[in-house]
């Protein structure tokens, strides 16, 4: 039996909107619209989709914060909404948008309170704290009130807080949002290590495809509250027929390059031209072909980002897609 199990789970929000002075209109938002999947112990899964797809709502239901409108949901055999506090002992949650720490207290007071609230054995607590402080570089931040921490510092503090009690599962909702390159790399390194050495199951939401590429062997894509894809990341590119872009700088302004097989001319701007090619194809022969036929100065390859892949997979006009590719 999978460790995390969802069976046609739904969450419908009823929103009232003012349409007149007193008149109000009721509208239903199907934030999660019948999602089913299972995640096994020790898996590290990416959960992606465009804004408003229903990712955060799913995670909140998996935590017990929100009660599902319909369907069945189990985490470690526990119904989250029904036994929220019991489940809390087994899971760690990081919301990139919101801290779980006590805003006015120094980081280390927050940790001390977690120690007692989660009833973590002393030795365990010390060991876990030391490891997190070391790997996430928190030493200098321990005495600083949370509200004074920068976004990246706070995020590292939050990740440590979610792991002090050795959770079996870790949910991360945009854990790398707003982080600089160095911090992102450190967080990813830490998560990979956590997954391999501790076997922690990780469910990760992000808009940064690199997070997924570097961490997750499996990715789930949702859009409008429905599961659109569940499989390997590479497979996503094939299914989505996504395109990469080759940006070529020629010696001078030339007519559009249309004589290279496998490449599609997108647009030009002076001596610079944009060519699209399937994401699953190799760029090398293409580059060789362009170089052989045209006076080439410089070139670069742009990877399609998640939004573009999804936009291409499901709906959206060709124009929109092209814009999102650039």
């Amino acid at each position: 039996m999978p460790f995390i199990e969802l069976d046609t789970v739904e969450k419908i929000f009823t929103v009232r909107r003012k349409t007149g002075l007193i008149r109000r209109e009721k509208r239903e938002v199907r934030a999660v619209d019948g999602i089913s999947f299972g995640v096994d112990r020790g898996e590290m899964v990416g959960y992606i989709g465009p804004n408003g797809a229903g990712k955060s709502t799913t995670i909140k239901m998996l935590t017990g914060i929100l009660t599902p409108t319909g369907g069945r949901l189990r985490v470690a055999g526990i119904d989250p909404a029904r036994e929220r506090t019991r489940l809390a002992q087994r899971i760690g949650v990081v919301f990139g948008q919101r801290t779980t720490l006590w805003w006015d207290l120094p980081l280390k007071d927050s940790y001390r309170l977690m120690h007692r609230m989660y009833r973590i054995p002393d030795a365990r607590y010390r060991e876990n704290l030391d490891r997190c402080v070391d790997l996430l570089d928190l030493e200098e931040l321990l005495d600083v009130p949370v509200r004074q921490l920068s976004l990246g510092q706070r995020m590292r503090g939050d990740i440590a807080a979610a792991l002090l009690h050795d959770p079996d599962v870790l949910y991360l909702d945009e854990p790398t949002i707003g982080l600089d390159v160095v911090s992102k790399a450190r967080v990813r390194e830490f998560l990979r290590d956590l997954n391999t050495t501790h076997g922690t199951t990780v469910l990760l939401t992000t808009h940064d495809l690199t997070d997924i590429e570097q961490l997750c062997s499996r990715v789930m894509v949702i859009d409008h509250g429905r599961l659109m894809y569940d499989g390997e990341l590479a497979g996503l590119h094939a299914v989505g027929e996504s395109e990469r872009l080759l940006v070529v700088d020629l010696e001078r302004e030339l007519p559009p390059i249309t004589d290279v097989p496998g490449a599609r001319f997108v647009r030009s701007e002076g001596p610079r031209q944009w060519l699209a090619f399937p994401a699953t194809a190799s760029a090398a022969p293409l580059v060789a072909a362009v170089a052989a036929r045209h006076p080439l100065l410089d070139l670069s390859v742009r990877e399609p980002d998640i939004e573009a892949v999804i936009a291409k997979m499901y709906g959206g006009t060709r124009e929109e897609r092209r814009e999102s590719l650039m």
Binding site: F13, G52, S56, K60, T63, G64, I65, L66, T67, A81, R84, T85, R86, A88, Q89, V93, F95, Q97, R98, T99, T100, D104, L105, D109, R112, L113, R116, M117, Y118
Partner: protein, 267 residues
Amino acid sequence: MADSLRTYRMVAGMWIRSTMTYRASFALTVFTSFCVTFFDFVVILLMFGQVRGLGGFSFAEVALLYGLTGTSFGIADLTMGSLQRMGKRVRDGSLDTFLMRPAPLLAQVAADKFALRRFGRVAQGLMVLVWALVLLDVAWTPVKVLLLPMTVVCGAVIFAAVMVLGASTLFWMQDAAEVTNSFTYGGNTLLQYPPTIFAQELVRGVVYVVPLAFVNWLPALHILGRPAPAGMPDAAAFASPLVAAVCCAVAGLAWRAGIRSYRSTGS
């Protein structure tokens, strides 16, 4: 229940420790809050300088009412006052954080930012109560003596239950905080005066609808040897524990239902 108490102690303890780090400012806030509430009483005192009684009640008798409700309300406010912030928490979704932790939600929210300065209100209520007891000329019986502490405790529980009930409604109506306050703060003010000065409809409402009369009126009237208001039997003076239990049950159910319909926020 044990879990809730443990959580409450833990969180409140941490906030006390963190406020104690600034000892001088802490002493100052306790002192000012005591002064503010004490002026309330001075106002009543001055009023009695002019009139020799209120609705047929003597100065000491009104002081008993004032002391009882003041102490009860003070205790409820000290322990549950942080529920004031529930409306904001529901609206901005910051309740999410509390719901992630392995501890009962109510204890966490009630103990959050626990402010010892609210103790000033309790101290003031107690002082007035002691004063009233010294001045009063009552034929004390063991039953009446026992009735006093019971009244204070049950009163506090009833106020606390009303506060929880009010906080629960905020899950559905996030702007109803004012309505809740009118029942708690407003109720406290009302109960400071003898029921004889109010309109009968109001008194009946306070007895039968929102049972705040059980906080002090009914037991105090019994102690003073006066008839119960609004046609209540005399034995109603001892019904406070029952009323408190019913209030707690209702508040508990409402709170649970509230959590289930909590919807967080979109971001």
